[in-house]
Symmetry: C2
Subunit: 710 residues, 2 copies
């Protein structure tokens, strides 16, 4: 595993679209909310040693001094700064914690998470606890070997900086940026807040300690010689009032916390419980059978996921009962509940907030579904009956787009970025709904959408061919919404091997899965006839995939319609996941009803997972042999399918996972978790939530207990 500690982690409370991002050397970071990028503060965290040196973690841009008004030349002597480097810093990332050691300091930041209650039914106190938009940090200073007192520093710079003691009658010591975010400690002896032009001023006399024009501020803690001391700091956020448009909503936490000061006081008061829960998560991951690299990837991904979450409430006044609305923003892109991410967040969310999955699926039906026509390639002007489908997303930048419209999809684009993902989102709803029902047994959901299931089946079939007899089990017609263009998949900026929807092997896998799942759902809702139709269609899909196997190539080429692409793609296997987690595949799947499909995909995967095809020379998986674009989240998912369903013995897994960690640390670094990687460097999808597909790894048997077939 990469031993570098030079990378950002997006420390985030649950559901506040807010992060305290820290860790990249010589870069700014810190607090930011309602924006898909790291904060913009220089962070000054360290201590002044007995010799007067200010020892700081390297989380600031040293080249840029603080802004000083009035044209005054501020003589700031930085010669007394000692900045810790790679060799000084030891860092350990837990599932819900991040511990950084350097010199005499240990900084731990806790971002506890766990079951997220449905505010409609849960006790308000429980909702308050989980939604409190705060993190807890602990700055520990070890002066046991020291002969002089040292002073710890936790500070940053920001505009509209203000003190917190004057707004809390001295109950909190700390600083804040306007009403939006801030950090505070309890005002114990030896702990004080300061505000000044530069961090060095923190050590001025106390008469001068709150210079409100200063854009640098924070906390100072005194540690006597020979002693060890902890400073507990709450890091909180507060975005009040309606913050979205299109659908108006506020943060659910505003029902429980009226202002930033409330958030900070609550977090400090409950810090023991918060840290205990973080420790539980850490322990859980630590005890799992995952390798060290896998643990790190899941931990880093989890931090990114929560940083993108919005736990909203469409009831704008406290008198109305809670009306929650769960949103996951698409990282730096800020698109809301992007459906082709929802399906990837599914497994993580079912673990912690199944009600949120249900709500998002309901909202897709109620507001973000549409009915289209379809068209054959090469038959301009001809419009055939289509069916129900779903939009790519629900809006962007806290703006819910109008009903039936995504922020992303545009007409007249020939299978290139920003075209429609009609078919893929159709399969996504079916797969999500199937897994949701299987995991929760939610009968009300089944009942509510009973009438939709036949529509979904019909919509899938019509996108294959208008004439039942001509259907092959593979998507062949594009939505009329494409205009003169053609549909794409979630791999939107990849070449046609994964980017084009029509005849695509990846999508064929999800088509098969959708038919299998729909058969199950139709059967459960008592529609045996259509269930049989769906099962028959799934068999066609499976056969089409198997028939695509090219003995000469040794694998199934990416496009099944013979339109030319010979690319080898890993996501051929993605679709297997959904019936599998629903328990619809047999224990020994390769021998069961879907045995042929599983066997052919196992052959396929074994063939393509080779350097020159779907492995990068440097290690790491390559989703398509014809593109250097790879999506880290999808690799994690496909790894799980390979191990848990295909039971393939992956070649050199440690070396590959090491490469995937390197992509995140050396490639992404500043952007915390990124998804879309070009030879290990993110070219998009930065600061991204999707990596929580790695949660699937926890469901795998430890490596030694796996039976493999190669």
């Amino acid at each position: 595993m990469s031993s570098s500690s030079n990378y950002n982690v997006q420390h985030a409370p649950v559901g506040a679209f807010a992060s305290f991002t820290l860790g990249s050397f010589d870069r700014r970071g810190g607090f930011a909310s309602q924006v898909g990028r790291p904060g913009n503060s220089n962070l000054y965290i360290g201590y002044r040693d007995g010799d007067g040196m200010l020892c700081l973690l390297p989380y600031f841009e040293s080249a840029v001094g603080p802004e000083v008004p009035f044209g005054v030349t501020l003589v700031r002597d930085t010669s007394m700064r000692r900045v810790f480097g790679e060799q000084d810093i030891h860092r350990e990332l837990g599932w819900a914690s991040d511990t950084i050691r350097a010199g005499k300091l240990t900084l731990a930041i806790f971002s506890p998470f766990g079951p997220i209650p449905d505010p409609r039914t849960a006790a308000p106190a429980e909702v308050a606890r989980r939604s409190c938009p705060a993190l807890i940090a602990r700055l520990e200073l070890d002066n046991t070997g020291g002969t002089e007192p040292i002073k710890g520093l936790f500070a940053l710079d920001a505009s509209s900086l203000r003190d917190l003691e004057s707004t809390t009658d001295g109950r909190l010591a700390g600083v804040a940026h306007a009403r939006q975010w801030g950090f505070a400690a309890l005002p114990e002896p030896g702990v004080r807040a300061f505000q000044a032009f530069a961090p060095e001023n923190a050590f001025d006399g106390s008469a001068d300690r709150l210079f409100r024009l200063g854009k640098t501020g924070g906390l100072v803690v005194e540690v006597p010689a020979g002693e060890k001391r902890e400073l507990w700091v709450a890091l909180g956020f507060h975005d009040a009032g309606a913050i979205t448009t299109g659908i108006e909503a506020r943060y659910g936490y505003t029902r429980h916390f009226k202002k930033l000061e409330d958030v900070l006081a609550y977090a400090l008061e409950h810090r023991e419980a918060l840290v205990r829960e973080a420790a539980q998560r850490d322990e859980e991951l630590s005890r799992s059978a995952l390798t060290r690299d896998q643990k790190w990837l899941l931990a880093q991904a989890t931090h990114g996921y929560f940083g993108s979450t919005e736990w909203l409430d469409t009831a704008l006044d406290d008198a109305s009962p809670p009306a929650p609305l769960w949103v996951v923003n698409e990282g730096e892109y800020e698109m809301m509940n992007t459906f082709d991410l929802t399906i990837d967040h599914l497994f993580f969310e079912l673990r912690y907030a199944a009600w949120a999955v249900r709500d998002v699926l309901d909202l897709y039906v109620d507001r973000y579904s549409y009915r289209d026509k379809v068209k054959r390639p090469g038959a301009p002007g001809e419009l055939l009956p289509g069916g129900v489908a779903f939009t790519h997303d629900m809006g962007v930048g806290n703006h819910f787009s109008p009903a039936g419209v995504s922020s992303y999809e545009r007409p007249d684009l020939d299978a290139s970025c920003f075209s429609h993902m009609t078919y893929e989102q159709l399969t996504n709803w079916i797969c999500c709904a199937g897994v949701y029902v299987a995991r929760t047994g939610d009968k009300a959901f089944l009942e509510r959408h009973k009438a939709l299931f036949p529509e979904l089946l019909e919509s899938l079939l019509r996108r294959d061919a208008p004439e039942p007899g001509a259907r092959t089990g593979v998507m062949a017609l594009d939505s009329s919404r494409c205009g003169t263009g053609a549909e794409i998949t979630t791999y939107d900026s990849l070449d046609h091997s994964l980017g084009r929807a029509r005849g695509n092997l990846y999508l064929a896998g999800k088509t098969w899965a959708s038919y299998v799942i729909l058969a199950h759902l139709l059967e459960r809702s008592g529609d045996a006839r259509r269930a049989a139709d769906s099962r028959a269609a799934s068999q066609k899909s499976a056969r089409a995939i198997a028939a695509g196997f090219d003995e000469q190539l040794g694998y199934i080429p990416a496009l099944l319609d013979g339109s030319g692409s010979k690319s080898a793609i890993v996501p051929a296997i993605e679709g297997l996941l959904y019936p599998h987690v629903m328990g619809l595949l047999d224990g020994n799947a390769a021998e069961g009803e879907h045995g042929e499909l599983i066997r052919v995909l196992r052959r396929h995967l074994n063939a393509v997972l080779k350097p020159g095809l779907c492995l990068f020379p440097e290690g790491g998986w390559k989703l398509s042999s014809s593109s250097d674009n790879s999506w880290a989240s999808k690799i994690a998912l496909c790894q799980h399918v390979a191990r848990a369903i295909l039971r393939v013995d992956l070649p050199d897994p440690d070396r590959h996972e090491e490469a995937h960690v390197r992509w995140q640390i050396e490639g992404s670094g500043y952007w915390a978790y990124s998804d879309q990687m070009q030879r290990g460097v993110p070219v998009g999808s930065r600061y991204y939530p999707r990596g929580v597909t790695a949660i699937l790894w926890l469901d795998e048997a430890p490596a030694g207990q796996r039976s493999s077939s190669r």
Copy 2:
């Protein structure tokens, strides 16, 4: 007058701390609120001509392209852009309008202002009208000579961009940034909003016109060949909820406008009345006796003033009656109601919002006054009785500082920037209160502060000398709040000639004024004995100033205590203003009770207003002969004193005013109105409200009707 049109104007509604700033070539600008700097948008305003060329005003950074997500390479052909330059643009700045002509377009932006009602007593509809945080723009396109249709464009780029039609059921066409600001037109035929990656995309087919991922958006209007067309655009702001801390307050307008869409719809609906009022202001200034340069300076200053205003309400729920709180931010510094600016805004505010002056003076008494001790220079440890005084400001960055504390003042600074301004703020309260009472006749105010007047007198006297017999009429003791330091004046970053408070000639003038005014106020409140004391003290001040006249130098040197500075300073005359506007000086002041003082100051001014002393070689006034630092607002004020009270025939006034305009256009430019100028270039106090001292010019008799004495 400088003929350049390359400068920003801070177009601002009344009291929203919000501006739409536009005019600097090749720079970003546009909307910004709650921040003391121009916006950060590229503005794309222009039209697509028949030949396909996109003709744009130069209000964007042409070097920087729009941000396009997904690593997609956007081929944006900018070879079809024609950007207007200095030679193409004709600009006319009115008091409440700004008209820019280039090619076939005329853009006018209206920022109407007028009497600001007291929300406690005024009709809500009147308050709503005046507080509506919106501007009106008119884009006129003249295609009368054209043979092909042209398309007008009013667009910009911004994060969290969203359309407005989906949140208004199509009643508005436009775009917004989150819930905070936006612009819209009525959806007439030929008018449509768009959102895209680049302004060129505005002319794509209408099916593609709202691409919500695009960070560029705006309005397009079609103008047929041979026709002329106007597009009316409302530019609005909305900052909801409590926005301040320390004292919690929201914007008063939030009582009347629940969201941005309400603001924009209201402004469009009332556009005729809004434009009519702007035209009234324009007409008023245009008809005044001011020179062209003076008109421009007052107009530019007025825009800056309103951009810094906050018309708040401390009653956070609509059920409570309005509890207004008026704040003027200190431009880029964002300090609130800085007292040494309040006194300069006084004359402007008395014209439009006398109740706000009263409220600010009351708040200074209630929350931002303090009682200190005083100390003699060179007598460390000795603390003598002081008295009542006032803080420098009420806070910074929307954070009200605790009672009795400013954000600016620090201890232990020896008459340098950030030291205390105790004495100056004491004279400021007295002078403001005197002028306020004289102008309004507010008996309740007099009654309310009756007990304060003797305290103010005592506080002034004790800062002269502890022993009555030793008093000279000039400030000689520093506040104990200075610690080891010494007090300064509003000229904080100037040298001791204007920066040091003790023995300062400038402050001596305001001391004299304060005693004269206090005598008047004490008399009116029935305290004849103390009124006489105050009158006697004023005579001492006058004598001290007159006695300071140095026949060898030919003027009064800046420091009256003989501590060395031989600098010549203009603001020696500042203090004359306050008794004058109160009517306390005789009609022919030079012959009246204060005749000696006036005559000596006239001699002084005539002597110092010379190149090498208080005139820059390039033209323009130099407030101190020993510093290149000059404050434009104070020059305007002193010019008025020179003409209206001293009746001095100013040397070459046109050339000087031309220089002052040049300071703003060529020096400040991007920062709209700036105050603190170093040889014509702002070194601080940018984007500043204080220039409205120029309102005093309107009270002067036209040049021809002035009687002068030299």
